[in-house]
């Protein structure tokens, strides 16, 4: 399968000469088209930093990031924005929905920014809403939605532009287990039925068990890789737990 994302020798340092944090240290991996990949690691290990670098929200210190064969580390801010809007979709732990807009308006916004005609855009939103089962909450404001609904609206917003890659930073982090399961099932369907490529950061072994492959990261370095292969989700889940324990992640992080 074609490579959507290829990260090579990525480094990201924070701070100055006196106090240097190597948030990412020589990270290399790639994600194939249609893959559902996860990134796990303990707190402070550099997961968010990695995602921010890939999502072009943060600049890298050295190394290269290619998305669909295009090098993105050298892009100008204007090209970056365009690239972000057309090739990437985002989901965040705290949803990042605009509180002043209804669900519908939140989802349609990426399309209007890219100048898609209103009629086309509206039809698209409705189709996505059906798929994620959020038709009922389209007219609601974020404060009138449950956490799970908010995250599914955010998911709808992330996929509305048919991005090459969906980046999700702890999407279940603020959800209870039932909502988390529902969201993961939705993402799973998106991945299977529509072939969406997803790269997801998570603390949570249960959430991670929906992935086909997990990259473990420790102190800014890639540490291990787990591939689900033909395993059931249950089997994969226990393998994940094993690695997490090995990593020394505290039990509270594991369901």
């Amino acid at each position: 399968m074609a490579e959507i994302l290829k990260v090579s020798n990525l480094e990201k340092y924070y701070g100055n000469k006196d106090s240097l944090t190597k948030a990412l240290d020589q990270v290399s991996f790639s994600v194939a088209e249609g893959e559902f990949a996860g990134i796990m690691g303990s707190s402070g290990s550099g997961k968010t930093t990695l995602l921010n670098c890939i999502s072009t929200l943060d600049s890298v210190t050295s190394g290269s990031i290619m998305i669909r064969g295009q090098e993105i580390t050298g892009l100008k801010s204007r090209q970056l924005a365009k690239f972000r809007g057309s090739a990437l979709g985002f989901m965040f732990q705290d949803y990042n929905l605009l509180d002043t807009l209804t669900g519908f308006e939140n989802i349609i916004l990426p399309l209007t920014i890219h100048g898609i005609p209103a009629a086309v855009a509206t039809a698209k939103v409705e189709a996505v809403a059906d798929r994620l089962e959020i038709r009922d909450v389209l007219a609601h404001y974020p404060y009138e939605m449950s956490g799970g609904q908010k995250q599914r609206v955010a998911a709808a917003r992330a996929i509305i532009t048919d991005p090459a890659l969906i980046l999700a930073d702890e999407p279940t982090g603020a959800l209870d287990s039932k909502s988390a399961r529902r969201l993961m099932e939705s993402l799973d369907r998106l991945n299977r039925n529509l072939g969406a490529t997803i790269l997801m950061v998570t603390h949570d072994a249960f959430t991670a068990s929906y992935c086909q492959r997990i990259l473990f990261i420790k102190d800014g370095k890639l540490f291990n890789e787990l591939i689900r292969g033909e395993d059931t989700r249950k089997e994969f889940f226990s393998k994940i737990i094993d690695v997490v324990t090995l990593l020394g992640g505290d039990a509270a992080n594991v369901l």
Partner: protein, 676 residues
Amino acid sequence: MYFKLSLRNVRKSLSDYTLYFLTLTFGVCMFYVFNSLEAQEVMLSISLSMLEIMHTITKLMNGISIFVSLILGFLIIYANNFLIRRRKREFGLYMTLGMSKHNISRILLCETLIIGVLSLAAGLLMGLFLSQGLSVITARLFEIDMSGYRFIFSLQAFWKTILYFGLIFLIAVSAGTLSISRHSLIELINASKHNETPAVKKPAMTLTLFLLSVLCIGIAYAMVLKYGIATFDRKIVIEGILGSIGTFLFFASLSGAMLGLVQKKPSFYYKGLNLFIMRQINSRINTTYLSMSFICLMLFVTIGIFSTGMGMTGVLNRGYSGVIPFDVSLEVPGADDPWALLAQSGVDLQDYADDFHRFHFYRYDLQALTQGTILKEVADLLPEENAQDIVDRLFPQALDVVALSDYNALMQLRDKQPLALGGSEVALMSQFLWVDADFQSIIEEYVGTDGRLSLGGTPYRVQTEILSEGIVNDSDHLMTLIVPDAVIADCTAVTGALCFNCRGNSAAMQDALTVQLDALIGEGRLPFKEGCVTRNMVQAVMGGSKAIIAFFAIYVGIVFLITSAAVLALQQLSEAADNRQRYEILKKIGADDALIHRTLFKQIAIYFLLPLSLACVHALVGLKVANDVVREVGSLNALQNTLATALLILLVYGAYFLATYYGSKQIMLKNGQRHE
């Protein structure tokens, strides 16, 4: 230690404070300047009459100052509350670190005091220099010399400014402290996380409100246009109340109604970030419509004050040589002679001047001569909107007659060319034409088209040139008729008059005469009361009216303008932090910097323009009516004044707008460095 912490806080949030600080400084400056008027007198060579007027103006400005300090007080308390609200979270943090509410109040007190003392000092300093300039303006308005430059410092104004603003700051601090102590720790910490719930209003309800507001404003407009604003009565109060209610309803429902309408047009609503902007405005107007309405009304008053003020001073500014041809003129009713009457009371006018002319105004006996006799010939040219008024009030006024020889003697006294008049010719004289372009063109039309006047059956030709050189000071006749001496045989004297120019230091002479006559009036020994008009008096009255109008316009207008703009700017700047998160989200979903800046610009522009636009519409209607009123004093060059006003507002308001835009942008750009 509190002082240090406060000082650091003020320095840290300097960008938030800058506009507020500048506004405050300017307010203090205006306050000092207009309270130091009394001290300015020393700089002007001023007559007694002017001194009197200046005292009146000073009293008036003192009264206005109280009103102005209320407005500025409102701004300070509002801004203070606003800044506290923005920082509740920070205070909450201090409290979790073990600081007591008492101590936080102390920090707050320190901060307010630092800002207060700084702006007070800067404002006073600026006022000190600006007040020097005010003397120059005053001198120009009164058309008098400055007796010499002297640096003016008004101790009284200085203390008054400190007292007033000190009090206001104290009140602001207590209000702020109160709002801190009312809140629990948890509320304070969660303050900035709390999302304002948009006031969910049913669309139908919003639309109804909106229509109601348009109805209110419409009725107010109709009433204003129909009844005018010339007389202050119940109608004006009703118009004002209707207009205000309409304005409040308008802003309460505007964005909701607009949103409803725009949403019906998806091709616009779902284009670029339009929907985001609309929602932004809508989410805030729900909570800020009150201040919006106040700002709109204040701007309306500002526009009104500025353009009428400018119009009035413009009218009064055309010089008064025609109105006051002589240093002194005396008039007594009937066939009496003022000279003789004064001599009986022991006043020898030879003490004051060398050359005099005594004459009479006459009433023509053979037929009734009124202003209408002339004007009815050109009645169809009268301005339509107040033709009836003119016919009712002006037409019945008598048209007095003056003999040609008297007129020429007066001209000689003024070193002017004598008038040549044929035996069957008369001439029209008007000292007032310059104030009203309408009348001027009407009467010119009359004399130009071969005007004829029949006196006792004999036809007379009216000279084609209107005489504009006056013959007595401050005449109250629109027109006077100059006739050949032979006609006087058929006349009865109605007013005895006497004109002269003083010898030596004219202003001092006039003052001396006024004092002497006033003394006689006090003893009841003068047979006529208000028949003496000196150049000093007219100058003082005209200069005084100009000064009052100009000072009022500058003082109140500017204070209103900067207060409104400052409130808008404060709201926007303090919202910028909230908006930053929203704009960050927009960035993440693919909006580039240029688009985001454009959106920010539009959003702030709409916010600034909304109250201004309605204020302009209000003002258009108001000014149309005001023009009709001023027309009686003189015709306003409405367009020019409106343009000048617009330019001034554009400058000040625009400066605040740009400062707000760049300030907000700055806050947005502080990427990821949120220091909590």
